[in-house]
Symmetry: C2
């Protein structure tokens, strides 16, 4: 028996159905499904995706039997439509469209009005009673076919039309009449003959063969290939081809006759708000593309209700039928031909985050879906839009450039070019944007003072981007097309626009756009539905969500967003505080252990106060505090001027500061003297921090506050590092608790962020209470990418499909994920009680969260503004992979 | 039945034997073995290592039965020696010594003359007829016992002796007579009473119990613990205790009487040359320690032959017996007591590399050992001494400091402080030493011009160290105790010595010492025996040895040393040549792909010439060429002055150079835009290199020269990088070969040096002809250590036992080794034909070579001067783990 290549749809019964998406593509499967549930769809047939893959496997030949099956299907369409393909009296015309498993909008080719030739045009004129319409359709067909199937340059056709318009002295296509189009049609045919050496095919089946092959060919056109690579769609899926009877929304007459024509698009609910109202637009006497093109302003559906109440009623009934059938908000296309409604497409509708939440919630209330389904319907990443102010899309501010959307949200402010100025202007109550080539830890104060940050170098995980996301502050990073001149305090954009210090700019951290002047902003709304959905998520998920927070304020924000503890409290940011950086520098410049201890003694009460604030904000929940991680040179100034100032403040010669800075300088600080390596070489630093942690915890415990400190030792690569540092920490901790006469629960664990640590996790787990995977550094070391420098090639890697995603944004599950898995397995193998979490940026990425759930982590930790996203993503993970 | 704790030796039969080393320790097992083969050994017994471990497991208690077994053994010794422990007339005295499985020289404690007290001393006086000797022995016993067993400070005893000498107005111990020692003995007893509150134990068995326990205790003294950590000796081995009858070499009378006494050490062959002659030294009327202490000059054995021919004959017979028995050169200790010879120790003797080779070879010729054994007898690392000039150990040059022995050999030269000066001075035929804080690729010319390199920063794998080893040039790295002032052109050493430009220094790259002035050098000798042993190694080994060579000269040197191809030819060093660096810079500064291609076109003939030279030197053997690896900024100047010069040479503004340098600058160049990432973003660079390789190969192939080029793409982390770059390379290669009309064997493969690449080796292997593990970078990324910066903490890590070895010198088999293993397994799983090698520094490290052999690599590649070492190490690997 020959394989089935062609699936008819039309009449009351289709050969396909919705769940045959892989074979028939999304469009074909849904057309079939609509037929099956009694919705009026112009008849047609779908050629399967298997034919497309076979086409490529077999030297672009059609399989035996395909032609017969197509001819059979045409006959069925003819029967259903009451017209005949190629018939001079009553010709059936086809639309030939692609349709892959997943939507690839605009990537592949389409041919409309297929079946027209000098004979059939006569029938079309007769049926439509509109010669202009018929010749316009004919010339459109020649133009599309010449371009798509015969490979002629689209411009050649446009030139002919333009010449005709010039001749007549008119500007618009609509000003050309039937005779004009007749002339154009002849010229098109001559053009095709001249350029290809052969006549335009008049045989309708030959036309169809060409169009089908052209759709197959378009599967491998460069933009479609590129799109698939970017969206992780396999090349071997292939596309289906939908051949469907043409219906015309531009066949007149006026709607009031009851026989009007028109085209429209509609959503079964409001895609912006989610409200359960019928939402759509249409145009009378127009084809589908006209509605989208925006030449005429479309009308709202309520006008249709008034003008063509019967049609509206039918459409509204279809709306309810589709929602009840698909149990999902649908986006439909329809055409009215001379008073008869035809549905051309249905698919899940795109919606805003607000709408997604409301629809999901209301569909549960309406009994259409269950809660799990509702939770799966919401894209966690989309929630981000609800957590930051956004730019009004109606703003008319000029776009000066577009770079990486490094930290979402909108920021409006006056431009300043260094951190000091940012702080100074802020103190005068000015809203500022910090503009830097790139930022460094020295700029933290300025970043904190700014509304948003713009850099001309660096990627999604550059210092600026990471810190900005941590702060929940908008950031556009790596605007390489702009040039900063610090000496003049200016930034010059690609179009030559220069912004001086004090000029207003707007940053759109969600899109990466930089706008001139002050754009209008929309304040974020966290509606009650949002909170409800998050509650549902909490009931489902098994993964705990903690937050990365360095200050009591961040801790409170995160707790408000539902964080269940702190997974990463970085102590180095505290060291940068204006009141303590000098003491830190004093410690670094100390020329003996005793002098260093002296400076540390001054830091102790400050650190203790930090921890008291954070412990209070998180009372009752665990707080993981990472001991000092960055290399010491990060705390020393870089410029000659700042070094001189520091020397003066310390009462030492400038060369002392310079020599120290020089001796600490590193070629690759990322792989240098940092993390626990500092703890080993300067044990007194970690001792002070542990003492501060336990003194703070003891004090609060006495006050009746429940505190669960977790001391986290960073950058462990060998078990002996942890053995030594844990024993040091225990000594200090026990001593403090003994003195205070209190006891409380505490843990001592480590970050697992070095590849070797994953490989030797079995050894390390024996001395650790918990592992927290530092997937940022693990990615840096596992890939050999410095996140500060990767911007130089990462975009090229994404463009060329070498990487599917930025591995700093979404965990590379295939590679770095293996390290995490090995770490989890081996860690648990020797310590069944081992706590397991992750505190890299990936803790807030939904795809990564699913992975962390699957490998069996106890928690993820993410920035405060990512907590609601993580809660939902964790629920989805549990629904998809119950554990 | 009680466990056996005590093993007697003496008379004709011992209870132990040589292969019981784990139970009896090395010393004890060999004493027993000597007894068994009829060599005269003073009787004694060994308490097993199990007793020591039991001692620590059981709260420092002796096991039941031990005391009885000791008392039984004492009785046997008494019977054998004809004297009695504690006997006032004829007292038996004991030496109590430690003895672990492996020698831990000087780490643990010893007590001699045990058994003396106020009663037994009388018997000793009578037997020796020498009161001074007896009291000297007594005071030595009190002193040792007081220190070792009773924990008194050694200095307290010395003060008493000094006081006595002061009183008598003499300087040397030998000037004190019997009466003096009697006084000292009384004062010692009083001191012990005062300090410990109890009398010195007079009961001999109590003395013995204390001494045995003290030896056990000394197993865990800090220096022994540290020694074990550094030498990877498990703490739970424990030490045995040897209790042996004392014999005295200082009991007179004159040798001519035939009843003389003396002590000596001897080697069964010359340990310096390996010649099969009896080599040793002795002192009459002296104890063992006097021979070593160097107070009197010892006599050569030939004097013994003349003075005590019978004793010499007996000793020489023992020499032959031991060699025939152990089939290994022995290092023995002997004592002659009143005309009777006693052997106190035998063990394998340490020897120079030259001696090791000669002895191994001659023992094969003599039929004592087979070739495999001979090969295992030579320490591959020791061969290094034969491959570089060395400093005459008799030199009296002052040592100014000691740092890392970064590249072996000796270098004498005049100090210069920058690369330019080095080249200038060299052009005037001056021998210079390049002294820098650290070196950079800019310094290559100067390093090449210098005799040796001294840096004050950086570790064993710093740029200076790696390049110096590659060049076979001595280097001392990281002399942090010295300070360089470039502005004055001086280096100031720790003791205040200042060396100015032009001053003579000597570097000992083998020990890390820096010497003042010109030390005397010994030229290296590669004897015929060396070559023969290497031939034997070649017959055995299965691992191929290639070399890392960037120039025809290096290639020739390596081939002379037996290299079987080039495993790593770095192309970047070629880019630094004086004639081409400007062109390279022109390429980097190019503002368009076309301009870049223009510069590359100029480089093409130069690169081609490079490859022709190398291919010729290696004809018939594979040559693996790594495409450009370092980040481009390495090729731009750093100083303002050099930038200005470059700008002038290029005819561009200085700011253009500065901006380019700034835009290329990286935070962590090690993890930045380098390796294949350059190939992806600037495909024209790799295209040029591949073209040069294949044009060179084509030209030589036409001339009849056999060329096997292997194109190696560095820093692959994803399979797509390799897919793209391999396809680019193939396109160029095929094009060149087609044009030239030739065909030859070639391979295209990749370095595996990124952790992720190991994990995804199965994917990558599908498109690679070979993998070459870059274990340097794999170590950097796997550990998170920058080799340029690790000096800051690596020494502390080694000191604290966190790392057992510098992982850049010897592969971390436990951690990084897992990555290599995974890479090998997964690579072979998808490509059975995959070639596998290693080209990191570890390719020349014997321990690492055994690992590479075991995991199944095809070859290792190392610097030219390591090739002979690698050949031997590979043979040993095959003997130990046949494959």
């Amino acid at each position: 028996m020959t394989q089935k290549y062609v699936y008819f749809f039309g009449g009351k019964q289709a050969e396909g159905k919705a769940d045959m998406r892989n074979l028939l593509g999304g469009k074909g499967a849904n057309l079939a499904e609509m037929v099956n549930i009694g919705i009026p769809v112009p008849a047609g047939f779908t050629i399967t995706t298997e034919v497309c893959t076979g086409y490529y496997d077999n030297d672009k030949q059609w399989p035996a039997g395909l032609e017969d099956q197509i001819r059979d299907a045409i006959a069925k369409v003819e029967a259903d439509m009451g017209s005949k393909f190629g018939d001079p009296k009553n010709p059936l015309l086809f639309a030939v469209r692609s349709g892959a498993r997943v939507s690839m909008p605009g990537m592949m080719d389409t041919v409309l009005n297929l079946g027209l030739n000098d004979t059939t045009i006569k029938g079309l004129i007769e049926n439509s009673n509109d010669e202009r319409f018929a010749y316009d359709s004919y010339r459109r067909f020649l133009q599309m076919y010449g371009d798509v199937v015969m490979g002629l340059d689209h411009d050649l056709f446009e030139e002919i039309i333009q010449a005709r318009k010039d001749k007549k002295g008119v500007e618009l296509d609509t000003e050309l009449d039937a005779d004009d189009w007749k002339v154009v049609v002849e010229k098109f045919k001559a053009l095709i003959k001249k350029e290809t050496g052969s006549d335009f095919p008049t045989d309708p089946f030959e036309q169809l063969r060409g169009a089908i092959n052209a759709v197959f060919e378009s599967w491998f056109n460069p933009r479609a290939q590129r799109y698939r690579e970017l969206n992780d769609i396999p090349h071997d899926w292939g596309t289906a081809v939908n051949v469907q009877a043409m219906v015309f929304g531009n066949m007149g007459p006026h709607p009031k006759t009851g026989k009007g024509s028109g085209s429209g698009v509609a959503f079964t609910r409001d895609p912006a708000t989610g409200e359960n109202v019928f939402y759509g637009e249409y145009l009378m006497n127009a084809q589908g593309e006209d509605v989208v093109a925006g030449i005429r302003t479309p009308l709202p559906l309520k006008t249709l209700k008034e003008d063509m109440p019967e049609i509206y009623k039918e459409l509204d009934a279809i709306r309810h039928k589709l929602e009840e059938h698909y149990r999902e908000m649908q986006d439909v296309e329809f055409t009215i031909q001379q008073g008869r409604l035809h549905m051309l497409q249905t698919r899940s509708g795109k919606r805003t985050a607000t709408a997604a939440i409301r629809i999901a919630k209301e569909m549960v209330e309406e009994g259409l879906i269950d809660r799990d389904t509702a939770l799966l319907r919401i894209d966690p990443l989309q929630l981000d839009h609800l957590l930051h102010p956004t730019i009004d899309p109606k703003t008319d501010a000029k776009v000066l450039g577009k770079a990486l959307p490094a930290s979402p949200g909108a920021a409006v402010g006056r431009v300043v070019f260094n951190a000091k100025d940012a702080e100074e202007w802020k103190s005068r109550n000015e809203a500022v944007l910090l503009v830097r080539t790139e930022t460094s830890p020295d700029d933290i104060g300025g970043m904190d003072a700014a509304q948003g940050i713009l850099t001309t170098r660096g990627g999604m995980t550059s210092h600026a981007a990471v810190v900005a996301r941590g702060m929940g502050k908008p950031c556009v990073a790596g605007l390489e097309s702009a040039t900063i001149r610090y000496e003049n305090k200016t930034i010059t954009f690609q179009d030559g626009t220069v912004a001086k210090e004090g000029d207003w700019l707007t940053l759109n951290g969600t899109t990466g756009e930089v706008l001139l002047g002050k754009a209008d902003l929309i304040e974020p709304e966290v509606t009650g539905d949002f909170a409800l959905i998050e509650e549902w998520a909490d009931e489902v998920r098994t993964l705990q969500i903690r937050t990365n927070a360095d200050t009591p304020h961040d801790a409170e924000v995160a707790r408000g967003f539902g964080a269940e503890g702190i997974g990463l409290c970085r102590t180095e940011h505290m060291f940068f505080g204006a009141d303590r950086i000098r003491v830190v520098q004093q410690m670094i410049l100390a020329d003996s252990t005793d002098a260093r201890k002296g400076a540390l003694a001054k830091l102790l009460p400050m650190q203790k106060a930090d921890f008291i604030g954070i412990f209070k904000a998180m009372q009752g929940l665990p707080v993981t505090i990472r001991l000092l991680d960055p290399p010491l040179h990060e705390f020393l100034p870089h410029s000659d001027e700042d070094m001189a100032k520091l020397a003066e403040a310390m009462g030492v010669g400038k060369e002392v500061v310079k020599e120290k800075a020089e001796s600490l300088r590193e070629m690759n600080p990322m792989l240098g003297h940092r993390g626990c390596r500092l703890g080993i070489t300067y044990p007194e630093i970690y001792d002070m921090q542990v003492q501060a942690i336990f003194e703070a915890a003891s004090e609060l415990t006495k006050e009746g506050v429940t505190v669960i400190p977790e001391v986290m030792i960073p950058l462990i690569g060998t078990v002996k590092e942890l053995t030594i540092l844990k024993s040091n920490a225990l000594k200090v901790a026990k001593n403090v608790m003994e003195k205070a006469g209190v006891e409380f629960e505490y843990h001592i664990g480590t970050m697992i962020e070095i590849p070797r640590a994953c490989l030797l996790a079995d050894e390390i787990a024996k001395v650790a209470d918990f592992f927290s995977f530092g997937t940022n550094d693990l990615t840096q070391m596992g890939f050999g990418y410095s996140r500060d420098d990767a911007g130089k090639f990462l975009q090229a890697y994404l463009n060329q499909g070498i990487l599917e995603k930025d591995p700093f944004q979404s965990l590379d599950q295939k590679g770095i994920g293996q390290l995490v898995e090995v770490g989890v397995e081996r860690g648990r193998s020797t310590n069944a009680e081992l706590g397991l979490g992750v505190c890299g940026e990936h803790g807030g990425d939904p795809d990564s969260i699913v992975f962390f759930h699957k490998v069996g982590l106890d928690y993820v930790s993410c920035s405060p503004y990512r907590v609601p996203i993580a809660r939902l993503a964790a629920a989805q993970a549990q629904i998809k992979c119950p554990r």
